[in-house]
């Protein structure tokens, strides 16, 4: 008797097995979902040391002797929240930096409301960022600090370093768009077709939910279908469910972007590509990339669909600094921060790079920060039995 081409009996028996496994999984999943789950994010202890309007400055409690004397300020994007860097215990960029002996500060941009709609890029860069950097310089008695930017926050850091090079010792940019004249990423294609004036006039601020919808549409097959199929397949695994919900919490925690900032970013960067050409102006001051003379470490993801390599890699050739380095990791836009494999490569490299450039302390007296009295707040910190925990 000839063998049939298609093993129908095998396929059917596999299907029956799958159905049986699914039934068991659903039974277990109901227990997992109904029992208490630990889905807290951003649990590494910190203290809010500075506040201005909606903006807060977090200072993380050191866990070891400092290995890098110069403090590091991390500037996150205005899109989504900085909690992504501290998403889950054991896979936290923040914890890894602390373990490497880095004195870590991070800006929390807060949740802009309608009243913030007139705030511009200049207000963020030359206002909030400058005040915060002066505060840290004064607090640590340092003439310069280290600056690290993430995504749009990295673009802000580039602007800041070009306008205030005397205050920045080393600059680290991660997945930061600086060249917008590329068709590699869908965001770049779509942004060019966007009537940003009409949008800002209609909404005031750019709604976070609308932006999130746009990000989901970038890859609906994976982000709207496959992701949840993956969840259904693993919903009997408590740890998986906890981490999945942590990620959901972060993804859909999207503050609105102040209207004028969004308008300027889209027009000057996405439409006119002024930043990389050193033609961008903030409050009448030109952002000249040649003034970036401090060491620059530039990280980006090879498979980043939001900020593709072409949007990141040009910056090192445009700045005035001679100490520059490009680092392309084989990951996507957020994989750099949430993948434990990439983190093991990413954080130690930055720590070593900063340490190597941390020696020169002679500048300390030459460029002392102004004696400005800053608001020091000690809110947002609480202790837990397992260790100190901080709340947003």
């Amino acid at each position: 008797m000839a063998q049939p081409k298609i093993a129908v009996d095998l396929i059917l028996s596999k299907l029956a097995e799958d159905a049986e496994r699914s039934r068991e999984r659903v039974q277990k999943a109901s227990n997992v979902l109904l029992e208490p789950l630990d889905t807290e994010i951003a649990t590494t202890p910190y203290e809010v040391v500075y506040e201005e309007d909606r903006v807060k400055l977090k200072h993380y409690h050191p866990v070891t002797e400092p290995e890098v004397k110069t403090p590091l300020l991390v500037v996150y994007a205005l899109i989504n929240r900085e909690t992504m860097l501290d998403l889950q215990p054991g896979r936290s960029v923040v914890q890894n930096f602390l373990n490497k002996g880095i004195d870590l500060y991070m800006i929390d941009w807060g949740y802009p409301t309608r009243k913030d709609r007139y705030i511009t890029i200049d207000d963020h860069v030359n206002g909030y960022m400058d005040n915060i950097i002066d505060f840290i310089r004064q607090r640590c008695d340092m003439p310069k600090i280290n600056l690290m930017g993430i995504c749009m926050g990295g673009s802000f850091c580039v602007m800041y370093s070009a306008l205030h090079p005397q205050k920045i010792k080393n600059l680290v940019t991660t997945v930061s768009p600086t060249n917008f004249d590329t068709d590699q990423g869908l965001l770049h294609i779509w942004m060019k077709a966007l009537d940003v004036d009409r949008m800002v006039d209609a909404f005031g601020n750019m709604p976070g939910d609308l932006m999130n919808l746009g990000f989901l549409i970038l890859n609906p097959a994976r982000l709207m279908i496959d992701k949840y199929v993956g969840f259904l397949e693993n919903m009997d695994n408590k740890q998986f469910v906890e981490n999945f919900i942590r990620m959901e919490k972060w993804i859909f925690d999207s503050p609105d972007v102040p209207g004028e900032t969004f308008r300027q970013f889209v027009k000057d960067c996405y439409h006119k590509n002024l930043l990389i050409q050193s033609k961008l102006e903030l409050d009448g001051k030109r952002v000249d990339l040649k003034k970036i003379t401090m060491p620059l470490l530039n990280y980006y993801g090879q498979y980043d669909h939001l900020v593709p390599p072409a949007a990141c890699e040009l910056i090192t050739s445009k700045v005035g600094s001679k100490d520059t380095e490009d680092m392309c990791l084989k990951t996507g836009h957020i994989g750099i921060y949430v993948s434990s494999k990439v983190q093991n490569e990413f954080v130690p490299k930055i720590a070593v790079w900063l340490k190597e450039r941390d020696e020169d302390r002679r500048e300390r007296k030459a460029n002392k920060p102004p004696a400005k009295k800053a608001t020091v707040k000690k809110t947002g910190t609480k202790a837990s039995s397992a260790g100190k925990k901080a709340k947003k």
Partner: protein, 301 residues
């Protein structure tokens, strides 16, 4: 013929008699009022103002009576009466013409719609289902623009004309937004449709070659990969960027119009509107900026 003439004469007499009686009645009423109780002797202010009011009413009544007298004298003459009666006899004819004209208009409109519906069928190419749907959207937009939209743009009259206009505009923007969303969703669903077709073709090929996987997950992985590929191709197309841009523009236009209507309503209550608040926010923003700059200058000194 004689009967008709007699009938007409009867009606004429009746109308003339009625006009005469009515004139006499209202004339005597006006005279009685004019010779009414004398209040000119009243010394207090209330009486004086009452007199003034009564005088004004009397004056307007007399003026109305004069007009009535003039009209009735014209209507009482035989030629005038004849003209009026002709009008009364012609009433059914006028009514039927009115109805006829209304019906014709409706019929013509219906025919126009039918013609448009015929065009939908004519412009669709056989077996090209994508074009069929896209044509349907284009034709619906055309139909809406030419046939329905005009009604929402009829010039409004009177005191509330601006409010009515804003409501009409909002309804218009809402309709456009709905049409654009439908078009966008249709485009967005195309990869799903195509991926099913490609998947079926692939499965047929694999079945023929005896290479069908026995693991159900493999089928899902195959499909999701095909779907992802289709979405990526679609998203890079200028048509998609265009459809997305138009949908967003329609949403924004609708939101702006709708907020104007809400502001009209809020204006009746002691509640600040979005525009009021935005003006206030701007002032606060500018003031804060000035204060911060001054503070910075002070510390730098």
């Amino acid at each position: 013929m004689n009967e008709t003439k007699q009938e007409n004469t009867g009606t004429e007499t009746l109308l003339a008699t009625w006009l005469k009686t009515a004139t006499e009645f209202w004339g005597s009423m006006a005279r009685t009022w004019a010779n009414g109780p004398d209040i000119s002797a009243a010394s207090d202010t209330a009486a004086a103002s009452e007199k003034e009011a009564a005088g004004r009413t009397q004056e307007s009544l007399q003026s109305a009576l004069k007009t009535w007298l003039a009209l009735s004298s014209v209507m009482s003459d035989p030629e005038g009466l004849e003209a009026q009666l002709k009008g009364v006899h012609g009433l059914p004819e006028v009514l039927s013409r009115l109805v006829q004209s209304g019906w014709d208009g409706f019929f013509q409109l219906q025919q126009q719609w039918l013609q448009r519906a015929e065009r939908i069928g004519k412009t669709t190419e056989a077996y090209k289902f994508e074009n069929l749907d896209q044509n349907a959207f284009a034709l619906w937009n055309e139909l809406y623009e030419k046939e329905f939209r005009q009604f929402l743009h009829i010039p409004q009259l009177g005191l509330t004309r601006f409010y009515q206009e804003r409501v009409g505009r909002t309804v218009d923007k809402f309709n456009i937004f709905q049409a654009k969303v439908a078009e966008f969703l249709h485009i967005f669903s195309l990869p799903m449709e195509k991926s099913h077709k490609v998947m079926q073709d692939k499965l047929t090929e694999m079945a023929e070659a005896g290479e069908l996987p026995d693991d159900s997950k493999a089928y899902y992985q195959m499909w999701i990969k095909i779907l992802e590929g289709h979405f990526m191709t679609l998203f890079k197309s200028p048509e998609f960027a265009n459809a997305m841009g138009q949908t967003l523009n329609a949403l924004e236009d609708y939101k702006i119009s709708q907020e104007k209507v809400i502001e009209d309503i809020l204006g009746m209550f002691p509640v600040p509107t979005q525009t009021d608040m935005d003006e206030l926010y701007k002032e606060i923003y500018l003031l804060k900026k000035k204060v911060k700059a001054l503070e910075k200058k002070k510390f730098e000194r």
